[in-house]
């Protein structure tokens, strides 16, 4: 019940915006190129659906996002586990990670094109770079921030380092891991435009950039709305997965 009212409440503002948007477009204060009305966007949307352009773009972008996200997850886990198991190794790569974390992925595009061409690789690298760091930071916090008082319980119980890892450190870090993954997924979605600025000929980011050069504001808006909705869907699915897999601590992860 509470959930339903929550969902209803969250649609109110969407609805209002659409009404105001419609009225503003009807008033023709700005040209249809600057502000195409909702009905024009809807027409563009149905055209793009029928031509299959939209579905193809979503599929391709989605594929890039997922590949990038999975690679970022694997990398982040490798680094986080290494820091956990070999704390002495951490200072060696900490500096370079800190350096890279502060470099906006988009600035690397010229070099990525030079080094990896204009295929899928540079696009996925941009997504990986965008989602890797928020995840790594969360994993590090989760793994290294384990409550020493709980670790002392393990010591009293005579746990081996493996048991400590399995029974205390990992479960303790789990909410951080999940939150980190959720944030990283959001970041990889947001990086898609940047990624598809690299000589792409397909995908949602390309769709928007292409519509821009063709002065099709309605198509630009379709692209933006679809990305936003896709994000909500992904987040919702991820939330479902979390609640299903970790029924405890939902208050931390939801």
């Amino acid at each position: 019940m509470l959930k339903t009212t929550h969902h209803l409440k969250s649609t109110v503002l969407f609805f209002l915006i659409i009404v105001v948007w419609y009225l503003l477009a009807q008033a023709q204060i700005w040209s249809a190129f600057v502000l195409p009305g909702p009905e024009k966007v809807l027409t563009a949307f149905s055209e793009m659906c029928q031509s299959g352009e939209l579905a193809a773009s979503i599929y391709i972008s989605f594929r890039r996002i997922l590949i990038g996200f999975v690679i970022a997850c694997l990398l982040a886990f490798c680094f986080a586990i290494t820091s956990l198991l070999f704390p002495k190794a951490k200072p060696y790569y900490d500096g370079i990670l800190n350096f890279l974390r502060n470099v906006p992925p988009l600035t690397l595009i010229p070099l990525l094109i030079l080094w990896f061409g204009i295929g899928e690789t540079p696009k996925i690298i941009v997504i990986v770079l965008a989602s890797f760091f928020p995840l790594l930071l969360n994993l590090d916090t989760g793994f290294s921030g384990c409550d020493t008082r709980l670790l002392e319980v393990g010591k009293i119980l005579g746990f081996s380092p493996q048991e400590n890892l399995k029974k205390i450190i990992f479960p303790y870090a789990l909410p951080y891991i999940v939150v980190g993954m959720r944030i990283a997924l959001g970041y990889s979605l947001r990086a898609i435009i940047g990624a598809e600025m690299i000589a792409a000929s397909s995908g949602l980011g390309y769709l928007i950039l292409d519509a821009q050069t063709m002065s099709r504001s309605d198509k630009v808006l379709v692209g933006i709305i679809v990305i936003g909705l896709l994000g909500i869907c992904l987040d919702f699915l991820f939330g479902l997965f979390i609640r299903h897999s970790f029924p405890y601590r939902t208050e931390v992860t939801s």
Binding site: R149, L150, V153, K155, I156, L157, K167, Y172, R249
Partner: protein, 235 residues
């Protein structure tokens, strides 16, 4: 009977880069089938002593030895439960093999948490959490339980109840207990033996009468209390 013997125990910490000696050649002998209460004011080194006995920390010099191999359990001041595990899982946390269902049910009944087996720690009161942490130590059948001000965070009434429960559990399981506290009434209620600790040393020991129904407001105990207060120079 197992005995714990501690000789010439030294331990210091760095406080603002200056070494501060917490334990100064501490000596102690305690039988492991009694309730020994170590009583002292905050900062006298009693928690440090317990942490050294448990092996959580290492002494600089001196020896801690048991007359025969002794399995130790520990109950901390805070419950220290795993927040992601329910009551039952927390109690069995230290077990390598699943606990016999009957024993587990009995233990949960003993600590008065029947019906709360599936509850997560966050949904329990402080007293209930501390009882779970007690059960987590008890299920391992340790010969000696080390308790570091286990009831300090509880309100007066819950604390009284827990003390009575501890006495009952002690009688039923024959587990030895070394309990550290700064509460004189708690010491009088629980102890077979009270050791007063001051400035990193055991300064005085009282053997209390073995009495099942203890009334700490009755004469012999009031006299003990007076003696303890005099020793601690609180009056």
């Amino acid at each position: 009977m197992t005995t714990l013997t501690i000789t010439a125990l030294h331990k210091s910490y760095l406080v603002k880069d200056q070494p501060f000696e917490v334990l100064k050649a501490l000596q102690l002998t305690a039988p492991c089938d009694e309730i020994t209460v170590i009583l002292g004011e905050s900062g006298c080194g009693k928690t440090t002593l317990l942490r050294l006995i448990s092996g959580l920390e290492k002494q600089e010099s001196g020896t801690i030895s048991f007359s025969e191999p002794t399995k130790l359990g520990m109950v901390f001041q805070e419950a220290r439960l795993m927040p992601w595990l329910n009551v039952k899982e927390n109690i069995c946390f230290g077990l390598r093999a699943p606990a016999p269902a009957r024993e587990l049910a009995e233990l949960i009944a003993t600590i008065g948490l029947t019906g709360f087996e599936e509850a997560l720690p966050a949904t329990l009161s402080g007293g209930m959490q501390q009882r779970v942490s007690l059960a987590r130590a008890l299920i391992l059948h340790s010969k000696l339980l080390l308790m570091d001000e286990p009831f300090a965070a509880l309100d007066y009434f819950t604390r009284r109840k827990m003390q009575q429960e501890l006495l009952r559990i002690k009688a039923a399981t024959k587990t030895g207990i070394i309990l550290v506290t700064h509460n004189i009434d708690e010491a009088l209620t629980l102890a077979d033996k009270i050791m007063v600790m001051q400035n990193g040393l055991i300064t005085k020991i009282w053997q209390l009468p073995a009495n099942k129904q203890r009334d700490i407001l009755s004469e012999p105990y009031i006299q003990f209390k007076r003696d303890i207060l005099n020793t601690l120079h609180v009056n």
